[in-house]
Structures are given as structure tokens and as C-alpha cells.
């Protein structure tokens, strides 16, 4: 077949694909016409033929550009559906956490160990708190929970919103950093877990030493259910990355890291969701005017709920 006949036979298909591509490239969310994949594959075939038959560099160039553009459109990622997000929240996420149970427990140990140690040690030797945090921070954290401190009930809604923004910016940022630095052989995650454990333990111990715990525990218990759990899970996600490099098993280190990234990012999605819930609670519920007893009961229920969620949700088939 001569080049002229070849071009005449297929020109219409090439035009059709061009039209399809122009439409797809203009509207990013646009749906492809039903014949787009077939047209694309036909033009791939034409390109191969044009190469084999040496129809000429310019024709090849034109077909090659069409194929490249088609490739970018055919294989672009589609946004996940709402149904998939819902399934992730109700079953995939807790399943993922259970399948990483060992790393979650290790992360819990790295976080809760230093926390409990400081919590016990600081009321006995208060100066220990200063070994982790600067004196001004310790002082200010403690004063918030004094009987006449800034967290007494009934602050204006405006400052609730301010605190919400701060918790999103700060807490989710810490979780992301805890995860990301795990790629350094897990060292970064270990550092953030231990350091945050020490710092939270030091502040709580200091509050206990000052005798302000009556204000602190009702405030912290509600959002703590989501916040503390999320930090532990972010640490586990980071450890997963680090472990992939240290012990790749039968994969190459590159492949092992890729697979670990895929698993770990699922944990991070969940962590971001939990910390958003925690930020809402910490900004709007925890400082609210509800009586301390109500807050303690609600907080206890939230802890049970989180535990129940990770132990049970998504266990039955098809849920």
C-alpha cells in the first residue's frame, strides 16, 4: 500500500482521535467518547505500520504525537468515588490497621512508653519536665488548666475557630512529618514518637504536680481518643517505610519501598481523617461549658468507640 492510499484510508480516524483528544484535554473531568480507546489503539497500530513501511518521518511524527497525547488521556487517573471513600472509612482502614498490628504495637510502645514514664516521673521530680521542654512552654501549658486559666468554659466562638485552624495546621503537620521521616530507616518516626511521648508526658505530669488535673482530664479525654491513636498510626506508617528499606525480604529495595508506600499512604489517609475529627472535638467540644462529668463520660465512650472500631469494623465479609 502506498503512503497516499494509507493516508486517505485512515485520515478520518486520525481526525476523529484528534477531536476526541482536544475535547478531553480541554475539560479535565470530561468523559471520553465510547470509541476513544478503540480509536487510540487503531492509531497505535497505524504508527507501527507507518514505521515498518517507512512511510516517512513527518507522518511518523504526526502519528507519534497523537499516540502520546492519547496515552496521557487514556491512562490518566480518575478521581475516587464517594462509595470508595465510605468503604475505606467503614472497613478498609480498620482492616489495614489490623494487618499492620505488629508495627502499630511497636509504634504504641515507642510513644506510650516515654509518655507514661514522664507522667510518673514528673510529679515526683518536677524539674524533669524542663529536660524536654523550655520552662516558658511548661509554665504556659500548665497555666491554661489553672482554675482561672484560659481554658475555662465559655470562650468566644471566634477563638474556637482560631484553635481549630491551629490544631489542623499543627497536629496534622506533626503526623505527616512523623510518617515522612520514617523513610530514613525508621529513625525519623522513632524520634517523633519518642519526643512527642516525652513532651505530652512532661506536660501532663506537670499539670498533675500543680494539681490542675481536675480541669485537664475532662478537657483532653475526648479528642485524645482520636489524636493520640492517630499519632501512633502515623508512626506505624513511617515505620512501614523504614522497614521496607531495612528488610526488603524477597523484593529489591526499590520495589519493597513502592509496595510499602502504597500500604502506608492508606494509614496516612486514615490518620488525616482522625485528626480532623480530633481538631473539631478539641476546638468546639473539649473547651465547651458541659459539666466535667459529662465530658469524662463522653470521652470514655469515644475511647471505647475508637477501640471497637479498630478491633471489629470491617471484619464481616462484604461490610
Amino acid at each position: 500500500m502506498s503512503r497516499e492510499v494509507f493516508e486517505k484510508n485512515h485520515e478520518l480516524q486520525w481526525r476523529a482521535l484528534e477531536g476526541n483528544l482536544a475535547r478531553l484535554e480541554k475539560s479535565r473531568g470530561g468523559e471520553a467518547a465510547p470509541d476513544f480507546p478503540e480509536l487510540y489503539r487503531q492509531v497505535c497500530h497505524h504508527l507501527a505500520l507507518a514505521r515498518h513501511r517507512r512511510y516517512g518521518a513527518d507522518l511518523e511524527l504526526r502519528l507519534n504525537r497523537l499516540v502520546l497525547r492519547g496515552h496521557q488521556q487514556l491512562y490518566r487517573s480518575r478521581a475516587g468515588s464517594l462509595a470508595a471513600a465510605l468503604r475505606f472509612a467503614t472497613s478498609d482502614f480498620p482492616r489495614l490497621v489490623r494487618s499492620e498490628a505488629k508495627l502499630v504495637l511497636l509504634s504504641l510502645l515507642l510513644f506510650a512508653g516515654p509518655l507514661i514514664a514522664m507522667l510518673l516521673a514528673v510529679p515526683w521530680r518536677p524539674e524533669l519536665a524542663l529536660s524536654v521542654l523550655p520552662p516558658a512552654t511548661v509554665e504556659q501549658m500548665g497555666q491554661q488548666y489553672a482554675p482561672d486559666g484560659s481554658l475555662k468554659a465559655g470562650r468566644p466562638v471566634d477563638s474556637d475557630l482560631l484553635m481549630f485552624g491551629y490544631y489542623i495546621y499543627n497536629n496534622i503537620g506533626i503526623a505527616f512529618r512523623t510518617f515522612a521521616s520514617g523513610i530514613l530507616g525508621g529513625l525519623g518516626s522513632i524520634f517523633f514518637l519518642v519526643y512527642n511521648g516525652l513532651a505530652i508526658g512532661a506536660v501532663t505530669g506537670h499539670i498533675k504536680y500543680m494539681g490542675y488535673q481536675g480541669n485537664f482530664y475532662p478537657f483532653a479525654i475526648g479528642h485524645g481518643a482520636f489524636e493520640l491513636t492517630a499519632i501512633v498510626l502515623a508512626g506505624a506508617a513511617g515505620l512501614r517505610l523504614g522497614l521496607a528499606l531495612l528488610a526488603p525480604g524477597r523484593l529489591t529495595r526499590g520495589e519493597s519501598l513502592l509496595a510499602a508506600g502504597r500500604r502506608a499512604i492508606g494509614l496516612v489517609y486514615g490518620v488525616a481523617g482522625m485528626l480532623t475529627i480530633a481538631a473539631f472535638l478539641e476546638a468546639f467540644w473539649s473547651p465547651s461549658a458541659a459539666p466535667a462529668m459529662v465530658k469524662l463520660i463522653v470521652g470514655g465512650v469515644l475511647w471505647l468507640y475508637v477501640l471497637f472500631y479498630f478491633l471489629v469494623a470491617g471484619r464481616s465479609y462484604g461490610s
Binding site: 518521518a57 513527518d58 496515552h71 475557630l161 485552624g165 491551629y166 515522612a180 521521616s181
Partner: protein, 230 residues
């Protein structure tokens, strides 16, 4: 090998060439994106501060989103490039040449923090210098590469002239050499054009000893024939 060309084959059996991008243009792109973000913070901070504490709260949420998800949004929704990358002609792709998706982009941009450690992208640059595809840690975990965008090539610009059928069939590389020659013809002196045409004497059949003008005309004719101007 210093070559940065990475051929990738698509499932349809067509080859795509990726030209991986090194640390220098990528740092420039990151610097541009940083400037854009800082300007955006200032622009947002003025109305936010007028709204009082609540406005500052919203600003903090905005800053959180900008800091972590500004590159993700552009990479997934705007053709693989943040404004800085677009300016430098860079593009993020999966290693198999497909456009980067949400998961890949989120992984590589969250891990940016680890690449930034211990200071000024230290680990990231070290990783780029070790890896032959210049991937930073985030790219390694996400399975992505940063490549140079191919320049838009509409076709060969060859001066029109009478077309001449080559005496032997030319393979693709030979065709390209002839077309590239014809395209750049105007940029050389006549003597240089003649000298280069002399190298193709076995193809044109014009002996090298002639003054060369004949050989240039001959090659230009073949180029016109190759472009289908018959």
C-alpha cells in the same frame, strides 16, 4: 552513562521517550513555587486578619492545605506540573510514562519533608545524585519521575522545492538526518552546507569534488520527497 533518555514501552507496543530532569531545574521550580506560596500567604493574611481570630483560624487551615497539598492539586489536576515546574518545562509522570495520580502525588509530596532534611533538601539532593533517574526519596516511594516536557513539534520546516526520489530506500534514522539537514540549511554558510552535503555523496550520487551546490540541491530535493511533496 550520562544519557538521560529513558525509553518506555506502552501496553500498545509504542515507545515513549522520557527525558528525566536533574536537580538544578527542579530546585529552580521549587523556588518559584515557594515564592508563589509566600505571596499567596500574604495576600490571604490581609483579609483574614480583618476577620479577627476566626479569620486567622481559617488562614491556618489554608496554610496547612497550601503547605502539603499545593503541589498535589496541580500535579493531578493540571497536567502533572506545579506553576514552577510548568515554567521550567518539567512534568511529573509515573515511571511507566502514565500521568501521576492522587496516590503517587500525595506520597511524593508528603515525603518532601524527609527530602528537605537535614536542611535545604539535603537528603533529596543526595538521593537524586545517587539515583540514575534523579529521583528523590519521595519519588522512590511513589514510583514517579520528573521529566522534561517534550517541545511541541508540529512538523519539519523545510524550504519548498522540486522533490527528488532517493536512489535507495532510506531507513528512519537516515530520513531524519536528511530532514534535519534540510531544516537547518538556512543557518549555515554555503560552503559549510556544501561540505556537509558532500558527506552524503554516496546517496546523492553527486561527486564530492564538484562545487557542492548540486549536492545541496539534491539533498533538499530528497527532503521534499520524504515530506510527501511530490
Amino acid at each position: 552513562m550520562l544519557d538521560t533518555y529513558r525509553p518506555v514501552e506502552t501496553p500498545e507496543g509504542v515507545e515513549i521517550g522520557l527525558r528525566v530532569a536533574g536537580p538544578v531545574p527542579r530546585l529552580f521550580a521549587a523556588a518559584i513555587d515557594l515564592v508563589i506560596r509566600v505571596v499567596a500567604y500574604f495576600v490571604l493574611a490581609i483579609p483574614a486578619s480583618l476577620l479577627g481570630d476566626g479569620g486567622v483560624g481559617l488562614l491556618l487551615v489554608g496554610m496547612f492545605l497550601m503547605e502539603w497539598f499545593y503541589p498535589v492539586l496541580f500535579e493531578v489536576r493540571r497536567g502533572g506540573a506545579t506553576p514552577g515546574k510548568r515554567r521550567l518545562g518539567l512534568l511529573v509522570l509515573h515511571r511507566d510514562g502514565t500521568p501521576v495520580g492522587w496516590m503517587g502525588s500525595i506520597v511524593r509530596n508528603l515525603l518532601r519533608f524527609a527530602d528537605f532534611l537535614p536542611a535545604a533538601y539535603g537528603f533529596g539532593i543526595a538521593s537524586m545524585l545517587i539515583d540514575r533517574d534523579f529521583r528523590r526519596l519521595g519519588d522512590l516511594a511513589a514510583g514517579t519521575v520528573v521529566v522534561h516536557r517534550e517541545p511541541e513539534m508540529a512538523g519539519y520546516r523545510v524550504p519548498k522545492g522540486p522533490s527528488l526520489r532517493p536512489s535507495v530506500p532510506l531507513d528512519l534514522d537516515e530520513q531524519r538526518a536528511v530532514l534535519d539537514y534540510a531544516e537547518r540549511l538556512g543557518t549555515w554558510s554555503e560552503a559549510r552546507a556544501a561540505e556537509l552535503a558532500g558527506l552524503a555523496a554516496p546517496l546523492t550520487g553527486v561527486p564530492r569534488t564538484a562545487d557542492g551546490v548540486e549536492g545541496v540541491k539534491h539533498l533538499l530535493g530528497i527532503a521534499n520527497w520524504l515530506l510527501g511533496r511530490r
